[in-house]
Amino acid sequence: MRIGVFICHCGSNIEGTVDTATVAKASLDFPEVVYATDTMYACSEPGQDGIIQAIKDKNLTGVVVASCTPRMHEPTFRRAVERAGLNRYMFEMANIREHVSWIGKDREANTNKSVDLVRIAIEKLRRDAPLSPSKFSINKRVMVIGGGVAGIQAALDCADGGLQVVLVERESSIGGKMAKLDKTFPTVDCSSCILGPKMVDVAQHENITLHAYSEVDAIGGYVGNFQVQVKKKATYVDWTLCTGCGACMEKCPSKKNPDRFNEKIGPCTSINIPFPQAIPKKAVIDPTTCRQFVKGKCGVCAKVCPTGAIKYDMADEIVTEDVGAIVAATGYDLFDISKVTEYGGGRYPDVITGLQYERLLSASGPTGGHIKRPSDGKEPKNVVFIQCVGSRDKSLDRPYCSGFCCMYTAKQAILTKDHIPDSQSYVFYMDIRSPGKMYDEFTRRAMEEYGARYIRGRVAMVYPKDGKMIVRGADTLAGTQVEVEADLVVLAAGAEAAVGAPKLAEKLRISYDKYGFFMESHPKLKPVETNTAGVYLAGSCQGPKDIPQSVGQGSAAAAKVLALFSKDMLESDPQISRVDIKRCVGCGKCIITCPFKAIKEVEFRGQKKAEVIETVCQGCGLCTSTCPQGAIQLSHFTDNQILAEVNALCQS
């Protein structure tokens, strides 16, 4: 082998604390290294050209680049060596930036450590074999999980691009959080007026199959060929017959159930269609409150239903959908305001969330668009908004900013004045975060045109007194204590990962952060990709987002899916396990443990042997560490490669 070693300065990122020239010089003393140099930016065009030129000039057969993390530029350099005629797997990286120069200031130690990392990269490279991918066909259907605005956008874009789309929604209607909003900032246009048509498009699009009131139960397979089991929860209404006429809701005797669509500030019937624009507009029975289920007798809805759609004996049903890609758009949930006990959320009816306030503002809400406070139905005059409830609060383990609360609070202050001209809004805030087009102008309008009084400071406590809510807090700008007698207190509850998000992530085999938000592949460069090929993210499941950001991500994820499906065949990663049948004793331990069922038993000259199914193997290497005789080896991470690395590190 003729190995070339390239030590990257990364400007001063590496060179600042690593003597790259010394590392290059030391590399020349390692086996089979015939060329070593330091380079300013290995990943830049001149940097890559330098590598390609050296491969040609020095007849290199393998390359080591010591620079940043391979998670960043390994594909870049692999393409580069391939352009120079080498197999792309005859390449290794040593991570001397993230793992060396950025975490230590001792130049001598860093230089020394870099040499060590280059040494093990060389030892691994010496045992690399050229690999070539094989091709497999893909199923050009896509599943979108979550029918909020991000999921709707992704589904529509994919469908418009000619793909078959399966949209799975947990609730009985798509629309998500946006469907519950009255108006949207900063334009103050009607939320359902802009979302509604998109929802109708989903219903009418010939390429979209909608599974509402359904959840993903299990996911098997891999990019291009996933098998997703979708659980269609029992609605007790045959949706093929239900026309959405609403006769059942009118007659249902169980009327006092908390309406989840209205954020439980209004009642609803046990058989229910959540809102007039629901898609699909179909009724669902809640068996926990329905008298037929709870008491065993009623049957009113079945009697009044003109189409005979009521089916009390309906059971959950599992349908399997085969798709080639999955977009997760499962959105967010609200922080539980009752956790901040000093604000009295959950204890005092007139302390509500911003989303509940949206329902009070909405013409389709429980109050018909008239702001009436929950306790006594009176119109509030003094409304206090408290920002950052469950955001930017380390003590609640919610250190992050939920991003959109500042804006919707400003909107709600404006709308309050619109609805009740003689009202006064107060906003307790920490900082105003309004970095968006027309956003800051919008908050200014709330203050300046609509007279909302913004008080910079935290609220210490909220308590009831003589039919009012006393809000006591600090005005840190004035340096005084403030007390406001409020008729209604609206808490800007922070965004949290949707309930069950970690479980779904596990099914999708993607990562999630400690708060349950899904992890993107790269925070800047791969915002909608995940570490699992064929799985993409859109919207707030990745982190709190407002509507335009969510819509943008929905489109971005759709673009990724369309790009993936633009090929007829996918190339499988050749870094998979391979069986040495001479050594295999056919014990099947690899078959038992393989998480992907990628190994099967075959018969070879009358003996049992293991065989890897190339397109199914994901290259985890569990089989290699399970096989006692080392008969199944993960290419590119063979026992001998790892042992060579270990030996290189232990020899000194």
């Binding site: 030391a26 993390t69 391979p70 998670r71 960043m72 991570n95 930036r97 993230e98 793992h99 060396v100 950025w102 975490i103 230590g104 200031k105 001792d106 001598e108 130690a109 860093n110 020394n112 450590k113 040499v115 060590d116 990392l117 093990i120 970690p502 992530a505 596990e506 085999r509 990562s511 999630y512 952060d513 400690k514 992890m519 570490n531 699992t532 870094q575 443990t593 998480p595 992907f596 994901q618 290259g619 985890c620 290497g621 569990l622 290699t624 560490s625 399970t626 993960l634 991470f637 026992d639 790892i642 042992l643 690395e645 270990v646 030996n647 590190l649 232990c650 000194s652």
Partner: protein
């Protein structure tokens, strides 16, 4: 060039590519300073880490071995770290019977977002290895100890560590 004599000890890390290697990257991006002893070997999954790699590394003279993978339930390959957890725990309990201090090996879970956790793990583990000092070597057992072994006189004193 070996470890820096008197300054560093030989600590080898086996990290899964998806979570912990990424966590170490995140720590780097965040400039979370760490001791320089650790050398990381990247593997696709903690399930790829045959406990024998660790035994071999320690028997061949490393002063410490640190393994890190995705948190349980968060494995990129769904199950690899569950198997790893069992195997690594068995190994950890096995090492002392061989005469290797169990403190020289640890395994943990660090996700790609946990740069600060990685910084802490590396710092704490490195300090732990420095507290233990350079690892005694099988090929350098003292003549005195060998004589005791020959006389069947081992295990007479105190200083027991549960095996």
């Amino acid at each position: 060039m070996p470890v820096l004599t008197g300054k560093e000890l030989r600590i080898v890390g086996f990290l899964c590519n998806w979570c912990s290697y990424g966590g170490a990257d995140t720590a780097g991006v965040g400039r979370f300073g760490q001791p320089t002893d650790l050398r990381i070997i990247r593997v696709p999954c903690s399930g790829r880490i045959d406990p024998l790699f660790i035994a071999k590394t320690l028997i061949n003279g490393a002063d410490g071995v640190l393994v890190s993978g995705c948190h349980p339930r968060d494995c990129h390959y769904a199950e690899g770290n569950f198997y790893a957890r069992r195997r690594l725990e068995v190994l950890k309990r096995f090492l002392p019977i061989l005469g290797i201090d169990p403190g020289r090996f640890d395994y943990t879970w660090v996700s790609a977002s946990e740069g600060q956790r990685w910084q802490k793990v590396v710092t704490v583990f490195t300090e732990q290895i420095h507290a233990l000092g350079p690892a005694p070597r099988f090929d350098a057992v003292s003549a005195d100890m060998l004589a005791k072994a020959a006389a069947g006189a081992l295990g007479q004193g105190g200083n027991r560590v549960a095996a």
